[in-house]
Assembly symmetry: C2
């Protein structure tokens, strides 16, 4: 007899990623010998830069395998502070930089410090799906605000003015964003921050795709204020996804709370990964990453017209990250059926919009341009045949 | 003007580790040129076994730096399943083994699946301090039950019978335990599991110190039931603390929930670490780890009489992990003052009992025997002078 299985109520709010079942089907197709073009996963295809790999190997060889301090290796926190100064001219004391297991760890820390049960966090819909699930994990309420092309799929200070309630404690935005690749300007960030602070709450800015912008210089929300939380990661720009390393920039008032949380929840982030990441800011690595950024830009520039010719509509120009959020409503009624069909008939894997929210989600799909241009052309050719 | 800083209510329940301020003082002493004997940190001093280091380096060289599947590399889940079969004769399907960022990640997943707001988890006092903080993170209630030498500082089925309320969903035990190094027998585990299941809840068994036992063969709670959660880690027995790698064995009924939580909270555990850990089960590594276990046993056997001669009382023989939980009540009124004095006057760093709970906590300190026997002798000599 199976015993009773008490299940936490939060599981009622935590959805699996729909793309996972697509991934499983893709694996099966590949096992049958089919060539699948993967554009579904949020992971650059370049691999970690060689200097970072070498530094990781050297750290292992040198025996850097013990626990690190809970907030991270001092040298890495300093290196990130220096990078903020060098790249953006912004002074961020290393003391406010907390090393985490990816942006995932940073999101958990920031939200755990802010969100009491029943308190609200304003999010965009569509958005990175884990955001709302982190809020549910912590027993807060995720308030998913429909956004569209009129605000480049981003929250605005107006959204905050309209939807901030007595229970709201924070608003969370991402720039460049996932799934839309759109940006927030310095002015927009300043306005959002002012709006949140004026209402007694905080702005959290997810800058995990920082540096992956194609039509302007990269910037940081930290230039606007030292009162906001910034999420970042070595996953995307530095292409260290599997190492699980990121960071959180914490307003002074939250340092003590975040320290206690980090000690207890994580003990520390990976020590070999932290040593490896010290090589991320070397000039040769930075210039390699710049080349890769330019490669991503060419892909985006190639992909957009292809998708438009296929009948997708791009309602807001993606300017960063490596995603195109494409309106598929004239091609198919339902993004899930469409994604399944494109996988089965064209062996092209993309992500259905419903992984990112509810608002017009069934009318959208996300393409990750994590394959080279010739492969994008192949993708377009395959889709042309089946659409 | 500093803006308001909304702070999550859980922070009222999440304490910092007291040992951290001792660590800071120890660092200062070392900077002044003093030789500090470190017995405060829960980390073996051997370093990661060479074959695991080599496998980690090879993984990096081979470019295994992308995201892994959320539940872990299939090969590692299989290897752990095979290890359960080989070492303990227990069949655990790989499907039920979820790879996590340390036992820390496993504790978070198990508790996030079980604990709704206001629900209770029964814990021993003293216990690993993060346990109660994980429960608070998830808005549950940690019910810390005083335990003493009469139950070898462990929860018993009687504790569950007496303290299980309508709101209780789980009981969490550790064997070998931190801070006491005491064990639960197979019979005790079976009784605890039966008691939890009979009341509609679940038993969680933290086996992070599995294999580090000195007077009997190691065993696993999984031999008793497939309905309990088991926490484990590569941190202690396999001496991979800084790699952040562990696992959770999940009852069938919770697989779906734990999968959704893992995808969203962590994305995945470290990929290089998982490849490295594949070398943990090789015969040469296992025999090295056996030598190290014997070394720890000699240290324990040397340390216990030393502490007793110094006037500490050991109220329950520690049989595993690498800790001695010593009753200091005849030597000093307060563990915190005592720890501070031993650090300042003898340059010996130990952990005050108050890091592990409240019950008679001020009358105890924890010694971690993570230094070789000659160093233990030096420690004893230094303490003799100041006590
Ligand atoms: C917007 C955004 N934030 C956070 C994350 C988490 O990434 P990681 O934990 O690998 O740093 C992702 C991953 O895709 C993301 O797209
Ligand atoms: C009893 C116990 N459980 C869990 C942990 C967490 O260890 P890790 O996350 O390194 O596996 C520790 C660490 O000291 C511990 O003592």
């Amino acid at each position: 007899m199976t015993p009773p299985s008490p299940l936490a109520s939060r599981l009622g709010f935590i959805a699996p990623f729909h793309v996972m079942s697509l991934l499983e089907q893709a694996r099966q197709l590949e096992q049958q010998g089919h060539d699948v073009i993967h554009m579904e996963i949020g992971e650059p295809d370049f691999g970690t830069p060689p200097a970072i790999i070498q530094a990781g190997m050297a750290a292992l060889q040198a025996g850097h395998t013990g626990y690190s301090p809970a907030l991270g290796l001092p040298a890495l926190r300093e290196a990130i502070a220096e990078d903020y100064a060098r790249r953006f001219g912004v002074q961020v004391p290393a003391r406010r930089i907390v090393i985490t297991a990816g942006a995932s760890g940073a999101l958990l820390l920031a939200l755990a410090a802010l969100v009491s049960p029943g308190k609200e966090v304003l999010l965009s819909d569509p958005a990175y799906p884990c955001n709302r699930h982190f809020v549910h994990l912590l027993e807060g309420r995720a308030v998913n605000l429909p956004v569209g092309p009129d605000s480049q799929y981003q929250l605005t200070a107006d959204h905050l003015a309209q939807h901030w309630s007595a229970d709201t404690v924070a608003a969370l935005v991402a720039t460049p964003s996932n799934p839309t690749g759109t940006l927030l300007s310095a002015e927009a960030l300043a306005a959002l921050n002012t709006a949140a602070l004026a209402r007694g709450g905080r702005l959290i800015v997810d800058e995990i795709y920082q540096g992956l912008v194609y039509d302007q210089a990269a910037h940081t929300a930290l230039a606007q204020s030292d009162q906001l939380f910034v999420i970042n990661s070595f996953s995307k720009y530095f292409q260290m996804t599997g190492w699980r390393l990121g960071w959180l920039v914490v307003p002074e008032a939250y340092l003590n709370a975040v320290n206690r949380l980090a000690q207890n929840i994580f003990i520390a982030a990976s020590t070999p990964a932290q040593h490896a990441a010290l090589a991320a800011f070397q000039p040769d690595t930075l210039s390699l990453l710049e080349q890769r950024r330019l490669e991503l830009k060419s892909r985006r520039d190639a992909l957009l017209p292809m998708l438009q010719q296929l009948g997708f509509r791009i309602n807001s120009q993606p300017q960063g990250a490596f995603y195109v959020y494409a309106d598929s409503s004239t091609l198919a009624g339902d993004c899930e059926a469409l994604s399944a069909r494109l996988l089965q008939q064209a062996h092209v894997a993309i992500t259905p919009g419903i992984d990112f929210g509810q608002h017009r989600a069934r009318e959208h799909v996300r393409f990750a341009y994590t394959v080279p241009v010739p492969r994008l052309e192949q993708m377009a050719e395959r889709l042309r045949k089946v659409l």
